[in-house]
Amino acid sequence: MRTVLRVFGECCVTAGAIVLLFLAYLLWGTALATSAHQHAFATQLQRQWQTHRDVRPATTRLHLVTGQPFAFIRIPRFGGSWRFAIVQGTGLAQLALGPGHVPGTALPGQVGNFAVAAHRVTAGNPFWHLNELRPGDKVMIITAATRYTYLITHTELVLPGDTAVLDPVPGRPHQSPREAMITLITCDPPWTGTHRIIVSGSLDAQTPHTGQHG
């Protein structure tokens, strides 16, 4: 009986240690991998954009390849150092690299709905604080030659099945868009898949930039 209890106790302690290690992996292990990719993406975009500028100045054409970066996102409320390269695609493989552009939705600055999804936890927790955005907050999308500034208009919680938030006019499937919108998506509450938090904004300004990457 004592032996049985001891083995049971040891198994519990072992299981606890494994769960703790798994938590550490989710928080830091996946973040390390993502940050390595993000560093490589930053260098890659800077180089691409520099070549673009030398060859044909102020080009606005975007070249989208699944799993490849094409723009940076900055959200001042998340701090000056908060910056991620947005990759094309929102499969798990792409979201492990950073925030992903939902295929089929508009491009930055385009009339329609530019939708970006990112992990709340894991992969460097890009959208950990998404719920803290308030109307009027800025979201900056920086592409090769242009910086697009969107202003947050509203935040809502939806169920996972609600794909209408991705429509060109969110929630109105058959309307054609007249405005350039942005939609940021992550899960809520953190760690779970029960709801999605949707943060919407509309384009406020677009300015050409020649700096490294704003």
């Binding site: 290690l21 798994f22 929102t90 979201l95 936890v121 998506i185 760690w191 779970t192």
Partner: protein, 52 residues
Amino acid sequence: MYRWLWQRLPGGTTSKAVCAAILAITAAALLWFIIFPWITPQLPLDHVMPGG
């Protein structure tokens, strides 16, 4: 379980301790680099896409 393992490790206390540490690190590395990356996408954890 752990006592049984400890008794089977070779040498004196120092040698046993070194072996135990190596075993523990190997187990942790196996979990961290192989099992956790494999299991993470299978969990209903942090799925962010609408409809997915």
